[in-house]
Symmetry: none
Subunit: 309 residues, 2 copies
Amino acid sequence: MSETDYQLIIVGGGPAGLTAGLYAARAKLHAILLEKGAPGGQVMNTDWIDNYPGFPEGISGFELAEKMAAQVQRFGLPTKVCEVTSMDLAGPVKKIFLEGGETLTSRTVILATGARPNKLGIPGEKELTGKGVSYCATCDGPFYRGLEIAVIGGGDTAVQEAMHLTKFATRVTVIHRRNELRAERILQEKAFANARIDYIWDTVVTEVLGSKEVEGLRLKNVKSGEETTLAVKGCFVLIGLYPNNEMLPLDQLASEGGFIVTDKEMRTSLPGVMAAGDICSKEVRQIVNATGEGAVACVAAENYLGNLK
Amino acid sequence: MSETDYQLIIVGGGPAGLTAGLYAARAKLHAILLEKGAPGGQVMNTDWIDNYPGFPEGISGFELAEKMAAQVQRFGLPTKVCEVTSMDLAGPVKKIFLEGGETLTSRTVILATGARPNKLGIPGEKELTGKGVSYCATCDGPFYRGLEIAVIGGGDTAVQEAMHLTKFATRVTVIHRRNELRAERILQEKAFANARIDYIWDTVVTEVLGSKEVEGLRLKNVKSGEETTLAVKGCFVLIGLYPNNEMLPLDQLASEGGFIVTDKEMRTSLPGVMAAGDICSKEVRQIVNATGEGAVACVAAENYLGNLK
Protein backbone atom coordinates (compact mmCIF):
# COMPACT_ATOMS: atom_id res chain seq x y z
CA MET A 1 0.00 0.00 0.00
CA SER A 2 1.36 3.41 -0.97
CA GLU A 3 2.77 5.76 1.66
CA THR A 4 0.83 8.75 2.91
CA ASP A 5 2.02 11.99 4.51
CA TYR A 6 0.05 11.27 7.69
CA GLN A 7 -1.90 8.60 9.51
CA LEU A 8 -4.53 11.19 10.48
CA ILE A 9 -5.44 14.65 9.27
CA ILE A 10 -7.81 16.65 11.45
CA VAL A 11 -9.58 19.44 9.60
CA GLY A 12 -10.69 22.21 11.96
CA GLY A 13 -9.39 23.50 15.29
CA GLY A 14 -12.49 24.08 17.39
CA PRO A 15 -13.23 22.01 20.52
CA ALA A 16 -13.94 18.88 18.46
CA GLY A 17 -10.75 19.11 16.39
CA LEU A 18 -8.60 20.09 19.36
CA THR A 19 -9.85 17.17 21.44
CA ALA A 20 -9.32 14.77 18.54
CA GLY A 21 -5.82 16.24 18.33
CA LEU A 22 -5.21 15.81 22.06
CA TYR A 23 -6.14 12.16 21.85
CA ALA A 24 -4.17 11.67 18.62
CA ALA A 25 -1.03 13.19 20.13
CA ARG A 26 -1.31 11.08 23.26
CA ALA A 27 -1.85 8.00 21.09
CA LYS A 28 1.35 8.94 19.20
CA LEU A 29 -0.42 8.96 15.86
CA HIS A 30 1.43 10.63 13.01
CA ALA A 31 -1.20 13.34 12.78
CA ILE A 32 -1.65 16.99 11.89
CA LEU A 33 -4.37 19.52 12.63
CA LEU A 34 -5.31 21.99 9.90
CA GLU A 35 -6.91 25.26 10.95
CA LYS A 36 -7.47 28.35 8.91
CA GLY A 37 -7.18 30.85 11.75
CA ALA A 38 -6.67 30.87 15.50
CA PRO A 39 -7.71 27.65 17.23
CA GLY A 40 -10.93 27.52 19.19
CA GLY A 41 -13.58 27.83 16.51
CA GLN A 42 -16.82 29.51 17.57
CA VAL A 43 -15.65 29.29 21.20
CA MET A 44 -13.26 32.16 20.49
CA ASN A 45 -16.25 34.37 19.75
CA THR A 46 -18.23 33.29 22.79
CA ASP A 47 -18.10 35.87 25.50
CA TRP A 48 -18.68 33.73 28.57
CA ILE A 49 -19.25 30.00 29.01
CA ASP A 50 -21.07 28.70 32.08
CA ASN A 51 -21.97 25.24 30.88
CA TYR A 52 -18.63 23.58 30.12
CA PRO A 53 -18.07 21.23 33.07
CA GLY A 54 -15.00 21.88 35.21
CA PHE A 55 -15.25 25.65 35.49
CA PRO A 56 -17.64 26.35 38.38
CA GLU A 57 -17.44 30.14 37.97
CA GLY A 58 -17.56 29.97 34.17
CA ILE A 59 -14.77 30.88 31.78
CA SER A 60 -14.39 33.24 28.84
CA GLY A 61 -14.53 31.63 25.42
CA PHE A 62 -11.16 33.11 24.59
CA GLU A 63 -9.53 31.60 27.67
CA LEU A 64 -11.12 28.18 27.19
CA ALA A 65 -9.96 28.10 23.56
CA GLU A 66 -6.45 29.07 24.66
CA LYS A 67 -6.38 26.37 27.33
CA MET A 68 -7.58 23.70 24.92
CA ALA A 69 -4.98 24.72 22.34
CA ALA A 70 -2.19 24.83 24.94
CA GLN A 71 -3.09 21.33 26.09
CA VAL A 72 -2.79 19.99 22.55
CA GLN A 73 0.54 21.78 22.10
CA ARG A 74 1.83 20.28 25.33
CA PHE A 75 1.56 16.84 23.75
CA GLY A 76 3.21 18.02 20.56
CA LEU A 77 0.53 17.79 17.89
CA PRO A 78 1.72 19.54 14.71
CA THR A 79 -0.72 22.16 13.48
CA LYS A 80 -0.74 24.02 10.20
CA VAL A 81 -2.51 27.27 9.47
CA CYS A 82 -3.93 26.88 5.97
CA GLU A 83 -7.13 26.97 3.97
CA VAL A 84 -8.51 23.65 2.73
CA THR A 85 -10.10 24.13 -0.67
CA SER A 86 -11.35 20.60 -1.41
CA MET A 87 -10.88 16.92 -0.59
CA ASP A 88 -10.98 13.52 -2.19
CA LEU A 89 -11.89 11.05 0.56
CA ALA A 90 -13.31 8.13 -1.41
CA GLY A 91 -10.23 5.90 -1.74
CA PRO A 92 -7.86 4.41 0.85
CA VAL A 93 -5.53 7.40 0.40
CA LYS A 94 -7.38 10.52 1.52
CA LYS A 95 -6.33 13.71 -0.29
CA ILE A 96 -6.65 17.17 1.20
CA PHE A 97 -6.10 20.04 -1.25
CA LEU A 98 -4.85 23.32 0.17
CA GLU A 99 -5.01 26.85 -1.14
CA GLY A 100 -1.76 27.47 -2.98
CA GLY A 101 -1.72 24.05 -4.61
CA GLU A 102 -0.26 21.81 -1.89
CA THR A 103 -1.84 18.37 -1.37
CA LEU A 104 -1.65 16.41 1.90
CA THR A 105 -2.40 12.69 2.01
CA SER A 106 -3.52 10.54 4.92
CA ARG A 107 -5.03 7.19 5.80
CA THR A 108 -7.74 8.76 7.96
CA VAL A 109 -9.43 12.14 8.25
CA ILE A 110 -11.50 13.71 11.00
CA LEU A 111 -13.83 16.41 9.71
CA ALA A 112 -14.30 19.03 12.41
CA THR A 113 -15.03 22.09 10.30
CA GLY A 114 -17.93 23.28 12.44
CA ALA A 115 -20.87 25.46 11.59
CA ARG A 116 -21.80 29.09 11.82
CA PRO A 117 -25.05 30.77 12.82
CA ASN A 118 -26.91 32.51 10.06
CA LYS A 119 -26.62 36.25 10.56
CA LEU A 120 -29.16 38.99 9.95
CA GLY A 121 -26.53 41.12 8.23
CA ILE A 122 -27.84 44.42 9.60
CA PRO A 123 -26.18 47.45 11.22
CA GLY A 124 -25.31 47.00 14.90
CA GLU A 125 -25.48 43.20 14.78
CA LYS A 126 -21.76 42.54 14.60
CA GLU A 127 -20.80 45.41 16.91
CA LEU A 128 -23.16 44.22 19.67
CA THR A 129 -22.55 40.48 19.40
CA GLY A 130 -21.80 39.29 22.93
CA LYS A 131 -23.25 42.56 24.23
CA GLY A 132 -26.89 41.62 23.86
CA VAL A 133 -26.88 40.00 20.44
CA SER A 134 -26.67 36.22 20.83
CA TYR A 135 -27.01 33.18 18.61
CA CYS A 136 -27.39 30.62 21.43
CA ALA A 137 -30.22 30.68 23.98
CA THR A 138 -28.86 27.69 25.90
CA CYS A 139 -25.55 29.46 26.37
CA ASP A 140 -26.73 32.97 27.14
CA GLY A 141 -30.32 32.72 28.43
CA PRO A 142 -29.41 32.92 32.13
CA PHE A 143 -27.76 36.32 31.55
CA TYR A 144 -31.20 37.85 30.86
CA ARG A 145 -32.94 37.17 34.15
CA GLY A 146 -35.67 39.76 34.74
CA LEU A 147 -35.14 41.52 31.42
CA GLU A 148 -37.14 41.98 28.21
CA ILE A 149 -35.69 40.38 25.11
CA ALA A 150 -36.48 39.53 21.50
CA VAL A 151 -36.14 36.32 19.50
CA ILE A 152 -35.71 36.61 15.74
CA GLY A 153 -37.02 33.63 13.78
CA GLY A 154 -40.02 31.35 13.46
CA GLY A 155 -38.67 27.82 13.13
CA ASP A 156 -38.41 25.02 15.69
CA THR A 157 -35.27 26.39 17.29
CA ALA A 158 -36.58 29.93 17.57
CA VAL A 159 -39.87 28.83 19.16
CA GLN A 160 -38.29 26.27 21.45
CA GLU A 161 -35.69 28.75 22.61
CA ALA A 162 -38.28 31.50 23.05
CA MET A 163 -40.06 29.24 25.52
CA HIS A 164 -36.77 28.34 27.18
CA LEU A 165 -35.94 32.04 27.52
CA THR A 166 -39.20 32.79 29.38
CA LYS A 167 -37.62 30.98 32.32
CA PHE A 168 -35.30 33.96 32.65
CA ALA A 169 -36.71 36.95 30.76
CA THR A 170 -39.92 38.64 31.91
CA ARG A 171 -41.01 39.17 28.30
CA VAL A 172 -39.91 37.50 25.08
CA THR A 173 -41.02 39.06 21.80
CA VAL A 174 -40.81 36.75 18.81
CA ILE A 175 -40.21 38.69 15.60
CA HIS A 176 -40.95 36.77 12.43
CA ARG A 177 -40.95 37.92 8.82
CA ARG A 178 -44.00 35.82 7.95
CA ASN A 179 -47.46 35.82 9.50
CA GLU A 180 -47.21 32.32 10.93
CA LEU A 181 -44.58 30.17 12.58
CA ARG A 182 -42.79 27.36 10.77
CA ALA A 183 -42.21 25.45 14.02
CA GLU A 184 -43.94 22.12 14.58
CA ARG A 185 -47.54 22.47 15.72
CA ILE A 186 -47.07 21.12 19.24
CA LEU A 187 -44.35 23.69 19.87
CA GLN A 188 -46.55 26.45 18.44
CA GLU A 189 -49.43 25.51 20.74
CA LYS A 190 -47.22 25.58 23.79
CA ALA A 191 -45.64 28.85 22.75
CA PHE A 192 -49.03 30.48 22.13
CA ALA A 193 -50.16 29.32 25.58
CA ASN A 194 -47.14 30.95 27.21
CA ALA A 195 -48.21 34.32 28.61
CA ARG A 196 -44.67 35.69 28.59
CA ILE A 197 -44.32 35.44 24.80
CA ASP A 198 -45.53 38.14 22.39
CA TYR A 199 -45.39 38.05 18.60
CA ILE A 200 -44.68 40.66 15.98
CA TRP A 201 -45.62 39.29 12.56
CA ASP A 202 -44.61 40.15 8.99
CA THR A 203 -41.68 42.06 10.37
CA VAL A 204 -37.92 42.16 9.88
CA VAL A 205 -35.25 43.73 12.05
CA THR A 206 -33.37 46.44 10.17
CA GLU A 207 -30.96 47.58 12.89
CA VAL A 208 -29.75 46.63 16.35
CA LEU A 209 -29.77 49.78 18.47
CA GLY A 210 -27.37 50.63 21.29
CA SER A 211 -23.83 51.83 21.76
CA LYS A 212 -22.19 49.70 24.46
CA GLU A 213 -24.98 47.16 24.73
CA VAL A 214 -28.29 46.36 23.07
CA GLU A 215 -30.98 48.91 23.87
CA GLY A 216 -33.52 48.07 21.21
CA LEU A 217 -34.33 47.00 17.66
CA ARG A 218 -35.48 48.92 14.63
CA LEU A 219 -38.28 47.00 12.94
CA LYS A 220 -39.96 47.17 9.55
CA ASN A 221 -43.30 45.65 8.63
CA VAL A 222 -42.74 43.92 5.29
CA LYS A 223 -46.35 44.44 4.19
CA SER A 224 -47.05 48.04 5.23
CA GLY A 225 -43.45 49.28 5.19
CA GLU A 226 -44.12 50.89 8.58
CA GLU A 227 -41.05 51.36 10.78
CA THR A 228 -41.08 51.07 14.58
CA THR A 229 -38.63 50.42 17.41
CA LEU A 230 -38.79 47.87 20.22
CA ALA A 231 -36.93 48.40 23.50
CA VAL A 232 -35.15 45.15 24.51
CA LYS A 233 -31.95 44.28 26.36
CA GLY A 234 -31.26 41.14 24.38
CA CYS A 235 -31.74 39.91 20.85
CA PHE A 236 -31.46 36.20 20.06
CA VAL A 237 -30.95 35.60 16.35
CA LEU A 238 -32.20 32.05 15.72
CA ILE A 239 -32.55 31.80 11.98
CA GLY A 240 -30.60 28.64 11.42
CA LEU A 241 -27.11 27.26 11.47
CA TYR A 242 -25.03 26.89 8.35
CA PRO A 243 -22.54 23.99 8.05
CA ASN A 244 -18.96 24.86 7.14
CA ASN A 245 -19.04 22.35 4.31
CA GLU A 246 -17.76 24.36 1.36
CA MET A 247 -14.52 22.34 1.25
CA LEU A 248 -16.18 18.95 1.88
CA PRO A 249 -16.87 16.40 -0.88
CA LEU A 250 -20.63 16.19 -0.36
CA ASP A 251 -20.87 13.99 -3.45
CA GLN A 252 -18.82 11.34 -1.61
CA LEU A 253 -20.22 11.67 1.92
CA ALA A 254 -23.70 11.00 3.32
CA SER A 255 -25.18 14.26 4.60
CA GLU A 256 -28.46 15.74 5.81
CA GLY A 257 -29.14 19.40 5.07
CA GLY A 258 -25.43 19.88 4.45
CA PHE A 259 -24.40 18.34 7.79
CA ILE A 260 -22.39 15.10 7.83
CA VAL A 261 -24.10 11.90 8.93
CA THR A 262 -22.17 9.72 11.42
CA ASP A 263 -22.83 6.68 13.55
CA LYS A 264 -22.35 6.66 17.35
CA GLU A 265 -18.61 6.09 16.91
CA MET A 266 -18.47 9.23 14.71
CA ARG A 267 -17.73 7.27 11.53
CA THR A 268 -19.09 8.78 8.32
CA SER A 269 -20.33 6.80 5.33
CA LEU A 270 -16.72 6.61 4.04
CA PRO A 271 -14.25 4.15 5.61
CA GLY A 272 -11.43 6.02 7.37
CA VAL A 273 -13.36 9.29 7.52
CA MET A 274 -14.78 10.46 10.84
CA ALA A 275 -16.59 13.67 11.75
CA ALA A 276 -17.02 15.47 15.08
CA GLY A 277 -18.60 18.65 16.42
CA ASP A 278 -21.05 21.04 14.81
CA ILE A 279 -20.49 19.78 11.25
CA CYS A 280 -22.30 16.58 12.23
CA SER A 281 -25.99 16.03 11.64
CA LYS A 282 -27.34 15.97 15.22
CA GLU A 283 -29.68 17.50 17.78
CA VAL A 284 -27.36 19.14 20.28
CA ARG A 285 -24.50 21.47 19.38
CA GLN A 286 -22.58 22.35 22.54
CA ILE A 287 -18.88 22.56 23.41
CA VAL A 288 -19.20 19.68 25.84
CA ASN A 289 -20.43 17.19 23.26
CA ALA A 290 -18.14 18.50 20.50
CA THR A 291 -15.14 17.60 22.68
CA GLY A 292 -16.56 14.18 23.50
CA GLU A 293 -17.12 13.49 19.81
CA GLY A 294 -13.56 14.55 19.01
CA ALA A 295 -12.21 11.95 21.43
CA VAL A 296 -14.52 9.25 20.08
CA ALA A 297 -13.62 10.12 16.47
CA CYS A 298 -9.92 9.78 17.28
CA VAL A 299 -10.42 6.35 18.81
CA ALA A 300 -12.40 5.36 15.68
CA ALA A 301 -9.46 6.55 13.54
CA GLU A 302 -7.03 4.52 15.69
CA ASN A 303 -9.21 1.45 15.36
CA TYR A 304 -9.39 1.90 11.58
CA LEU A 305 -5.60 2.29 11.37
CA GLY A 306 -5.14 -0.74 13.61
CA ASN A 307 -7.16 -2.83 11.19
CA LEU A 308 -5.19 -1.78 8.11
CA LYS A 309 -2.76 -4.31 6.73
CA MET B 1 -52.24 13.06 33.40
CA SER B 2 -51.24 12.31 36.97
CA GLU B 3 -48.72 14.47 38.76
CA THR B 4 -45.15 13.35 39.38
CA ASP B 5 -42.63 14.46 42.01
CA TYR B 6 -40.20 15.64 39.32
CA GLN B 7 -39.86 16.34 35.62
CA LEU B 8 -36.46 14.66 35.61
CA ILE B 9 -34.60 12.33 37.95
CA ILE B 10 -30.88 11.85 37.31
CA VAL B 11 -29.49 8.67 38.84
CA GLY B 12 -25.75 8.94 39.46
CA GLY B 13 -23.38 11.83 40.20
CA GLY B 14 -20.30 11.15 38.07
CA PRO B 15 -19.31 13.41 35.15
CA ALA B 16 -22.30 12.26 33.05
CA GLY B 17 -24.88 12.80 35.80
CA LEU B 18 -23.33 16.08 36.93
CA THR B 19 -23.34 17.47 33.38
CA ALA B 20 -26.94 16.35 32.85
CA GLY B 21 -27.68 18.11 36.14
CA LEU B 22 -25.86 21.26 35.05
CA TYR B 23 -27.94 21.43 31.88
CA ALA B 24 -31.16 20.55 33.73
CA ALA B 25 -30.60 23.26 36.33
CA ARG B 26 -29.81 25.84 33.65
CA ALA B 27 -32.93 24.76 31.74
CA LYS B 28 -34.95 25.24 34.97
CA LEU B 29 -36.30 21.72 34.87
CA HIS B 30 -37.85 20.49 38.08
CA ALA B 31 -35.09 17.94 38.53
CA ILE B 32 -33.13 16.09 41.21
CA LEU B 33 -29.86 14.19 41.17
CA LEU B 34 -29.59 11.01 43.22
CA GLU B 35 -26.13 9.91 44.33
CA LYS B 36 -25.21 7.30 46.87
CA GLY B 37 -21.93 8.86 47.98
CA ALA B 38 -19.75 11.85 47.18
CA PRO B 39 -20.23 13.29 43.69
CA GLY B 40 -17.64 12.62 41.00
CA GLY B 41 -17.96 8.91 40.44
CA GLN B 42 -14.80 7.12 39.37
CA VAL B 43 -13.13 10.49 38.73
CA MET B 44 -12.73 10.81 42.49
CA ASN B 45 -10.46 7.77 42.43
CA THR B 46 -8.33 8.94 39.50
CA ASP B 47 -5.00 10.38 40.50
CA TRP B 48 -4.26 12.70 37.61
CA ILE B 49 -6.16 13.57 34.43
CA ASP B 50 -4.28 14.91 31.40
CA ASN B 51 -6.90 14.34 28.70
CA TYR B 52 -9.92 16.34 29.83
CA PRO B 53 -9.85 19.41 27.56
CA GLY B 54 -9.44 22.77 29.28
CA PHE B 55 -6.71 21.87 31.75
CA PRO B 56 -3.40 22.22 29.86
CA GLU B 57 -1.30 21.10 32.83
CA GLY B 58 -3.71 18.36 33.84
CA ILE B 59 -5.83 18.23 36.98
CA SER B 60 -6.29 15.79 39.85
CA GLY B 61 -9.42 13.67 39.69
CA PHE B 62 -10.45 14.86 43.11
CA GLU B 63 -10.22 18.51 42.07
CA LEU B 64 -12.05 17.98 38.77
CA ALA B 65 -14.87 16.16 40.57
CA GLU B 66 -15.10 18.99 43.09
CA LYS B 67 -15.22 21.61 40.34
CA MET B 68 -17.94 19.79 38.42
CA ALA B 69 -20.02 19.37 41.58
CA ALA B 70 -19.56 23.03 42.56
CA GLN B 71 -20.70 24.13 39.11
CA VAL B 72 -23.93 22.15 39.43
CA GLN B 73 -24.52 23.53 42.92
CA ARG B 74 -24.02 27.06 41.63
CA PHE B 75 -27.09 26.61 39.44
CA GLY B 76 -29.10 25.17 42.31
CA LEU B 77 -29.76 21.57 41.31
CA PRO B 78 -31.20 19.65 44.26
CA THR B 79 -29.25 16.51 45.09
CA LYS B 80 -30.15 13.68 47.41
CA VAL B 81 -27.78 11.18 48.94
CA CYS B 82 -29.60 7.85 48.82
CA GLU B 83 -29.41 4.31 47.52
CA VAL B 84 -31.67 3.39 44.60
CA THR B 85 -32.82 -0.22 44.97
CA SER B 86 -34.96 -0.64 41.83
CA MET B 87 -36.95 1.19 39.19
CA ASP B 88 -40.09 0.84 37.11
CA LEU B 89 -39.49 2.83 33.94
CA ALA B 90 -41.96 1.25 31.50
CA GLY B 91 -44.96 3.56 31.88
CA PRO B 92 -45.33 7.33 31.47
CA VAL B 93 -44.76 7.77 35.22
CA LYS B 94 -41.25 6.58 36.04
CA LYS B 95 -40.85 5.17 39.55
CA ILE B 96 -37.56 5.15 41.45
CA PHE B 97 -37.54 3.02 44.60
CA LEU B 98 -35.13 4.00 47.36
CA GLU B 99 -33.68 2.05 50.23
CA GLY B 100 -35.92 2.65 53.22
CA GLY B 101 -39.14 2.42 51.21
CA GLU B 102 -39.43 5.89 49.67
CA THR B 103 -40.59 6.12 46.02
CA LEU B 104 -39.84 9.08 43.76
CA THR B 105 -41.80 9.62 40.53
CA SER B 106 -40.81 11.51 37.43
CA ARG B 107 -41.71 12.01 33.78
CA THR B 108 -38.15 11.39 32.62
CA VAL B 109 -35.06 9.64 33.98
CA ILE B 110 -31.40 9.86 33.04
CA LEU B 111 -29.45 6.75 33.98
CA ALA B 112 -25.88 7.70 34.82
CA THR B 113 -24.98 4.97 37.26
CA GLY B 114 -21.54 4.33 35.78
CA ALA B 115 -19.41 1.24 36.06
CA ARG B 116 -16.97 -0.26 38.51
CA PRO B 117 -13.76 -2.26 38.33
CA ASN B 118 -13.90 -5.94 37.47
CA LYS B 119 -12.71 -8.45 40.04
CA LEU B 120 -10.43 -11.43 39.42
CA GLY B 121 -12.74 -13.82 41.28
CA ILE B 122 -9.92 -15.94 42.69
CA PRO B 123 -9.16 -17.33 46.16
CA GLY B 124 -7.77 -14.77 48.54
CA GLU B 125 -8.95 -11.75 46.53
CA LYS B 126 -12.00 -10.86 48.58
CA GLU B 127 -10.43 -11.83 51.91
CA LEU B 128 -7.41 -9.61 51.32
CA THR B 129 -9.19 -6.62 49.76
CA GLY B 130 -8.01 -3.61 51.72
CA LYS B 131 -5.13 -5.71 53.05
CA GLY B 132 -3.01 -5.57 49.94
CA VAL B 133 -5.60 -6.15 47.21
CA SER B 134 -6.73 -2.84 45.73
CA TYR B 135 -8.72 -1.56 42.74
CA CYS B 136 -7.59 2.04 43.08
CA ALA B 137 -3.96 3.07 42.77
CA THR B 138 -4.76 6.66 43.65
CA CYS B 139 -6.38 5.66 46.88
CA ASP B 140 -3.91 3.08 48.07
CA GLY B 141 -0.60 3.76 46.30
CA PRO B 142 0.97 5.71 49.18
CA PHE B 143 0.62 2.67 51.48
CA TYR B 144 3.23 0.82 49.40
CA ARG B 145 6.18 3.15 49.81
CA GLY B 146 9.40 1.15 49.55
CA LEU B 147 7.60 -2.13 48.79
CA GLU B 148 7.29 -4.45 45.79
CA ILE B 149 3.84 -4.74 44.22
CA ALA B 150 2.01 -6.15 41.20
CA VAL B 151 -0.45 -4.64 38.75
CA ILE B 152 -2.85 -7.01 36.98
CA GLY B 153 -3.98 -5.89 33.51
CA GLY B 154 -2.69 -4.40 30.26
CA GLY B 155 -5.05 -1.60 29.28
CA ASP B 156 -4.75 2.17 29.66
CA THR B 157 -5.70 2.19 33.30
CA ALA B 158 -3.36 -0.63 34.28
CA VAL B 159 -0.35 0.92 32.55
CA GLN B 160 -1.13 4.44 33.73
CA GLU B 161 -1.51 3.32 37.30
CA ALA B 162 1.59 1.11 37.15
CA MET B 163 3.60 4.23 36.35
CA HIS B 164 1.85 6.16 39.09
CA LEU B 165 2.67 3.41 41.59
CA THR B 166 6.40 3.66 40.85
CA LYS B 167 6.24 6.92 42.78
CA PHE B 168 5.84 4.78 45.88
CA ALA B 169 6.81 1.17 45.23
CA THR B 170 10.42 0.18 44.50
CA ARG B 171 9.27 -2.39 41.95
CA VAL B 172 5.99 -2.76 40.03
CA THR B 173 5.42 -6.01 38.15
CA VAL B 174 2.73 -5.82 35.46
CA ILE B 175 1.07 -9.21 34.96
CA HIS B 176 -0.87 -9.53 31.73
CA ARG B 177 -2.60 -12.54 30.23
CA ARG B 178 -1.54 -11.56 26.68
CA ASN B 179 1.92 -10.98 25.27
CA GLU B 180 1.42 -7.27 24.55
CA LEU B 181 -0.24 -4.30 26.20
CA ARG B 182 -3.55 -2.83 24.99
CA ALA B 183 -2.76 0.63 26.40
CA GLU B 184 -2.32 3.67 24.12
CA ARG B 185 1.10 3.85 22.50
CA ILE B 186 2.35 6.90 24.40
CA LEU B 187 1.60 5.15 27.67
CA GLN B 188 3.33 1.97 26.53
CA GLU B 189 6.49 3.84 25.56
CA LYS B 190 6.58 5.64 28.88
CA ALA B 191 5.98 2.46 30.83
CA PHE B 192 8.68 0.53 28.93
CA ALA B 193 11.11 3.38 29.66
CA ASN B 194 10.37 3.22 33.39
CA ALA B 195 13.11 1.16 35.06
CA ARG B 196 10.94 0.33 38.05
CA ILE B 197 8.39 -1.60 35.98
CA ASP B 198 8.78 -5.30 35.06
CA TYR B 199 6.44 -7.42 32.94
CA ILE B 200 5.22 -10.99 33.17
CA TRP B 201 3.45 -11.91 29.92
CA ASP B 202 0.90 -14.59 29.01
CA THR B 203 0.15 -15.06 32.67
CA VAL B 204 -2.90 -15.06 34.94
CA VAL B 205 -3.13 -14.83 38.72
CA THR B 206 -4.79 -17.90 40.23
CA GLU B 207 -4.61 -17.03 43.93
CA VAL B 208 -3.75 -14.17 46.23
CA LEU B 209 -1.47 -15.54 48.95
CA GLY B 210 -1.27 -14.41 52.55
CA SER B 211 -3.21 -14.72 55.77
CA LYS B 212 -3.51 -11.28 57.38
CA GLU B 213 -2.11 -9.38 54.47
CA VAL B 214 -0.93 -10.02 50.90
CA GLU B 215 2.36 -11.92 50.79
CA GLY B 216 2.39 -13.01 47.18
CA LEU B 217 0.54 -14.21 44.12
CA ARG B 218 0.21 -17.63 42.56
CA LEU B 219 0.69 -17.31 38.80
CA LYS B 220 0.00 -19.56 35.84
CA ASN B 221 1.45 -19.19 32.37
CA VAL B 222 -1.48 -19.59 29.97
CA LYS B 223 0.73 -21.03 27.21
CA SER B 224 3.00 -23.44 29.10
CA GLY B 225 0.70 -24.11 32.06
CA GLU B 226 3.70 -23.55 34.36
CA GLU B 227 2.86 -22.36 37.88
CA THR B 228 5.02 -19.96 39.86
CA THR B 229 4.68 -17.58 42.77
CA LEU B 230 5.62 -13.92 43.00
CA ALA B 231 6.36 -12.31 46.37
CA VAL B 232 4.60 -8.93 46.56
CA LYS B 233 3.05 -6.85 49.32
CA GLY B 234 0.36 -5.33 47.14
CA CYS B 235 -1.80 -6.36 44.18
CA PHE B 236 -3.63 -3.77 42.09
CA VAL B 237 -6.39 -5.33 39.96
CA LEU B 238 -7.00 -3.09 36.93
CA ILE B 239 -8.84 -5.33 34.41
CA GLY B 240 -11.81 -3.35 33.19
CA LEU B 241 -15.26 -2.35 34.15
CA TYR B 242 -18.52 -3.86 35.28
CA PRO B 243 -21.75 -1.87 34.68
CA ASN B 244 -23.52 -0.55 37.80
CA ASN B 245 -26.82 -2.00 36.65
CA GLU B 246 -28.10 -3.86 39.71
CA MET B 247 -30.81 -1.26 40.33
CA LEU B 248 -31.77 -0.99 36.66
CA PRO B 249 -34.79 -2.78 35.18
CA LEU B 250 -32.88 -4.78 32.57
CA ASP B 251 -36.11 -6.61 31.70
CA GLN B 252 -37.54 -3.28 30.50
CA LEU B 253 -34.46 -1.77 28.86
CA ALA B 254 -32.41 -2.86 25.85
CA SER B 255 -28.85 -3.70 26.96
CA GLU B 256 -25.65 -5.30 25.67
CA GLY B 257 -23.41 -7.15 28.12
CA GLY B 258 -25.21 -5.37 30.94
CA PHE B 259 -24.56 -1.90 29.49
CA ILE B 260 -27.55 0.19 28.33
CA VAL B 261 -28.14 0.67 24.60
CA THR B 262 -28.88 4.22 23.45
CA ASP B 263 -29.23 6.06 20.18
CA LYS B 264 -27.11 9.10 19.28
CA GLU B 265 -29.40 11.35 21.31
CA MET B 266 -28.80 9.10 24.35
CA ARG B 267 -32.38 7.80 24.34
CA THR B 268 -32.80 4.25 25.59
CA SER B 269 -35.37 1.78 24.26
CA LEU B 270 -37.94 3.27 26.70
CA PRO B 271 -39.62 6.61 25.96
CA GLY B 272 -38.61 9.23 28.52
CA VAL B 273 -35.57 7.27 29.69
CA MET B 274 -32.07 8.44 28.70
CA ALA B 275 -28.65 7.11 29.66
CA ALA B 276 -25.21 8.73 29.72
CA GLY B 277 -21.65 7.88 30.68
CA ASP B 278 -20.01 4.56 31.47
CA ILE B 279 -23.30 2.69 31.93
CA CYS B 280 -23.91 3.04 28.17
CA SER B 281 -22.95 0.36 25.68
CA LYS B 282 -20.18 2.08 23.68
CA GLU B 283 -16.59 1.98 22.52
CA VAL B 284 -15.02 4.87 24.37
CA ARG B 285 -15.34 5.47 28.12
CA GLN B 286 -13.66 8.75 28.92
CA ILE B 287 -14.63 11.69 31.10
CA VAL B 288 -14.86 13.94 28.05
CA ASN B 289 -17.54 11.91 26.31
CA ALA B 290 -19.40 11.09 29.54
CA THR B 291 -19.95 14.82 30.05
CA GLY B 292 -21.03 15.32 26.44
CA GLU B 293 -23.52 12.50 26.74
CA GLY B 294 -24.92 14.00 29.95
CA ALA B 295 -25.68 17.25 28.13
CA VAL B 296 -27.23 15.45 25.15
CA ALA B 297 -29.34 13.24 27.46
CA CYS B 298 -30.69 16.33 29.24
CA VAL B 299 -31.73 17.95 25.96
CA ALA B 300 -33.43 14.69 24.97
CA ALA B 301 -35.32 14.77 28.28
CA GLU B 302 -36.35 18.38 27.64
CA ASN B 303 -37.56 17.49 24.15
CA TYR B 304 -39.53 14.55 25.50
CA LEU B 305 -41.13 16.78 28.15
CA GLY B 306 -41.90 19.40 25.51
CA ASN B 307 -43.85 16.87 23.45
CA LEU B 308 -46.02 15.64 26.35
CA LYS B 309 -49.63 16.78 26.24
